[in-house]
């Protein structure tokens, strides 16, 4: 032991070692060597700084473009539409409006056409194009709130079409630009925060497209993923670190897990398609299947992170606990796991963040779909945020450009919130010794 720590005195045949001449720092050769060393130091520091600056610049560019493009997605333009209900003569019974069938009754009475007619009489022949396709839904809600408006003239603020909305924000065709300017001059246009973007679901019309359906789908999917991957991953890690004998089989398992962590995500999609949909006949497009598939994907990440965290717990803690008579289970759950938890949580959150941004495996199990309402439970059809972004980026209508960016902002906020939670948890549980 001590031989490696304390070097032996060099053998000098009994004589004192010759005294070393002091280094002359002033010579030319030495000066140039020192300069070289300092230059190398500076170069390395600048290189590192450059790398950080470059990645920061990319991040700023990404966030900047997203914010600039996406800000408009959170705003909507509304047109004050005068509606003369007695003149439009909607064929609808007042009693029906109080009941559950109100929506059907109003749709059947031709409310959609009536709103179009009102737009034409208020804004000219093109008037119908100024309103969003789903503007009549706003009118329908207004009638349901207060059926008495059917007896008088009212003005209701309805969402403007995306062309009018875009004309109000940036360049557009001259005709639409002029129409927007005219409406604006008449004081008919108002702009406000688009709450329906946060509460609505997918739509073919950018003005009524919302993110809630996809966000809820993501939340449900993540819940399933976490509920499965975390306990199974942590238990596997504990078993492999604390209990498993070291033999050929455990080596094989270790190699398999490391391999699995690097398998492309699309493969897990195919696996999910074959196993969950093919063999177990689970419902297509459901968050539960998405969650199961993503759980398979991130489990290896959690196992690896968990094993490393458990390995990092000093053996003295185990020895001490065993020494005072704790059982193996008590050692693991009272001492090792609490100390390893910050590391395990970090690994889990990294895995969850990867799962949150994943699209490829979900395409395979049918979560890339148009679904006009938010999912109600784990088995009802749903889509998730990144898939929604993908679907919108594919849309022809120019109004979807800002919706895509706005959806990306929502996804980034979601991710940031998850990472913030991870850091909070880690700091809370972190112990130093």
């Amino acid at each position: 032991m001590s031989s490696t720590l304390v070097p032996e005195v060099p053998v000098t045949n009994g004589r004192e070692p010759a005294e070393r001449a002091p280094t002359d720092w002033k010579t030319h050769a030495m000066q140039s060597r020192i300069r070289k060393r300092y230059a190398a130091e500076r170069r390395f520091r600048l290189l590192g700084l450059g790398a950080v600056a470059l990645s920061a610049a990319f991040l700023v560019f990404l966030l900047g473009t997203m914010l600039i493009n996406g800000a408009g997605g959170f705003v909507r333009t509304e047109i004050a539409l005068p509606l003369d209900f007695p003149a439009l003569s909607l064929d609808v019974e007042r009693e029906q409006l109080a009941q559950r069938g109100a929506d059907l009754a109003l749709a059947g009475a031709g409310l959609q056409n009536a709103v179009g007619v009102a737009a034409v009489s208020a804004f000219g022949d093109e008037g119908e194009d100024y309103l969003a396709d789903n503007a009549w839904l706003t009118v329908r809600e207004a009638i349901k709130d207060d059926p008495s408006i059917l007896d008088r003239r009212v003005t209701i603020a309805v969402p403007a079409s995306s062309r009018i909305h875009l004309a109000a924000t940036d360049d557009a065709e001259p005709a639409i630009e002029a129409a927007a300017a005219r409406l604006n001059a008449a004081g008919a246009l108002t702009r406000g925060f688009n709450w329906s973007f946060l509460t609505g679901s997918d739509s073919t019309d950018p003005t009524s497209a919302g993110i809630w359906g996809a966000l809820k789908g993501s939340l449900l999917t993540m819940a399933v993923t976490l509920a499965l991957a975390f306990p199974i991953g942590v238990l596997s890690a504990i078993y492999l670190e604390e209990y498993a004998p070291k033999n050929r089989w455990t080596d094989l398992i270790e190699v398999s897990i490391n391999n699995l962590a690097a398998v492309p995500s699309i493969i897990f999609g195919l696996l999910g398609l074959a196993v969950f949909l093919g063999t177990f006949n689970m419902p297509r497009s459901a968050p539960i299947v998405g969650g199961l598939t993503l759980a398979l994907m991130i489990m290896p990440v959690i196992v690896i992170a968990g094993r490393n965290a458990i390995k990092a717990v000093p053996p003295s803690i185990r020895d001490a606990a065993l020494g005072v008579g704790a059982s193996r289970v008590q050692v693991v759950f009272h001492h090792v796991l609490p100390l390893a938890l910050p590391g395990i949580l970090t690994g889990t959150i990294i895995g969850m963040a990867r799962a949150l941004g994943e699209t490829a495996p979900l395409l395979m199990i049918g979560m890339r779909a148009f679904i006009g309402s938010a999912p109600e439970d784990l088995a009802s059809p749903a889509t998730v945020l990144p898939v929604q972004i993908f679907l919108w980026s594919d849309q022809v209508s120019s109004g979807f450009v800002e919706k895509t960016s706005a959806a990306i902002i929502v996804l980034l906020v979601f991710l940031l919130a998850m990472n913030a939670l991870a850091i909070y948890l880690r700091n809370r549980f972190e112990t130093r010794w």
Partner: protein, 341 residues
């Protein structure tokens, strides 16, 4: 790995038992063509808005071929109810369906998608083939840079008027249709060796349109192309088929491969620039899936010439076709193998 897979499969089994997917499904499932997708989603949206008590339909854009594979996989809640198709089902696919027990399929033509090639009504009539169009408009016809300046350069039988073509920009869906329906078949007709090319080389030779003047990018506005054609009788224009109908007094459809674009030739698919759009429905699902019958009625209500689907860019089918499609839905008439032969 087995240690993870085992508990996982147990959990999956337990979940699949409680999620009970064997029972009836409540929402309508649609798969298939990306061309029909925007129209079916539009119908789904209005279905959703007018019937809030129904579950929202789920529409996946998988492409016609992959959609047929899923559609034909079987009858039951795990299989889709409806197929969007931008072409007719082939007899082979129909038999594949039947082999999996998917019989009693209703074939409904909902409209058409396509483009027309036209010139001003007072212009000297031209009749072109797709190979002519390819040789006149490709950047590198048959692998060599395009030098044709007049139609006579393309084919001595054609008049010696300069090639001027007003068409959609490369970002447009009409341009995609043009590439798919005119340029690619034209390329393969004029230069059979092109079929051997792959990927970028194929695109370069067959799809890339010249940018040295004769092809004029006229913007997304099809009405503008119509106006330019009237002002320049030697030019021809490429635009959505519906604009040809609307401006029948001012512009005339050019016969392509001998077929003039009319509603009949478009609906039958005889005109090369258009393709009929279909939905296929499993009749045996209509009673099992709530709302499917109402969804089909909504579709029928939307496909008229001044309906919402036409506003989204679909070409309405001619009245007799619409009537027949409506009758298929109303009476539940199913497709027979003979009709596809």
């Amino acid at each position: 790995m087995p240690r993870i897979a085992f508990p996982l499969s147990l959990i999956a089994l337990a979940l699949s038992a409680c999620s009970d997917s064997g029972a009836a499904r409540e929402e309508i499932r649609v798969v298939g063509s990306s061309t029909v997708y925007p129209f079916t989603t539009a119908v789904a949206e209005s279905f959703n808005n007018s019937r809030p008590d129904m579950r929202a339909p789920v529409i996946e854009s998988t492409g016609t071929g992959a959609g047929i594979n899923q559609f034909c996989a079987g009858i039951g809640p795990q299989h889709p109810d409806l197929l969007n198709a931008s072409r007719r089902m082939t007899i082979g696919e129909f038999e594949q369906c039947a082999a999996n027990g998917v019989t009693e399929i209703m074939e409904v033509q909902v409209g058409a998608d396509g483009l027309a090639i036209a010139q001003a009504a007072q212009a000297q009539p031209l009749s072109l083939t797709r190979a002519h169009l390819y040789r006149a408009l490709a950047a590198n016809p048959m692998g060599r840079p395009n030098t044709a300046r007049t139609w006579a350069d393309v084919d001595p039988a054609l008049p010696a008027i300069p090639i001027t073509v007003f068409g959609p920009p490369s970002t447009s869906g009409t341009r995609d249709s043009f590439n798919e329906l005119m340029m690619e078949p034209g390329c393969e007709a004029a230069w059979p060796a092109a079929a051997e090319l792959e990927g970028d080389a194929y695109d370069e030779a067959c799809v890339l349109i010249r940018s040295d003047g004769p092809y004029v990018d006229a913007g997304e506005n099809d009405n503008l192309i119509v106006q330019k054609l009237v002002a320049d009788p030697s030019a021809i224009g490429i635009f959505g088929f519906s604009y040809l109908e609307e401006n029948a007094s001012r512009v005339r459809g050019l016969p392509i491969d001998g077929t003039t674009p009319t509603y009949e030739t478009v609906a039958s698919g005889a005109y090369p620039g258009a393709r009929p759009l279909y939905i296929y429905v499993k009749k045996r699902h209509i009673r099992a899936v709530p709302g499917l019958a109402a969804f089909l009625e909504d579709y029928a209500a939307a496909w008229g010439p001044d309906g919402p689907l036409v506003r989204r860019g679909m070409i309405a089918a001619p009245a007799p076709v619409r009537e027949r499609s409506a009758a298929i839905i109303a009476r539940g008439m199913t497709l027979s193998a003979d009709a596809l032969r």
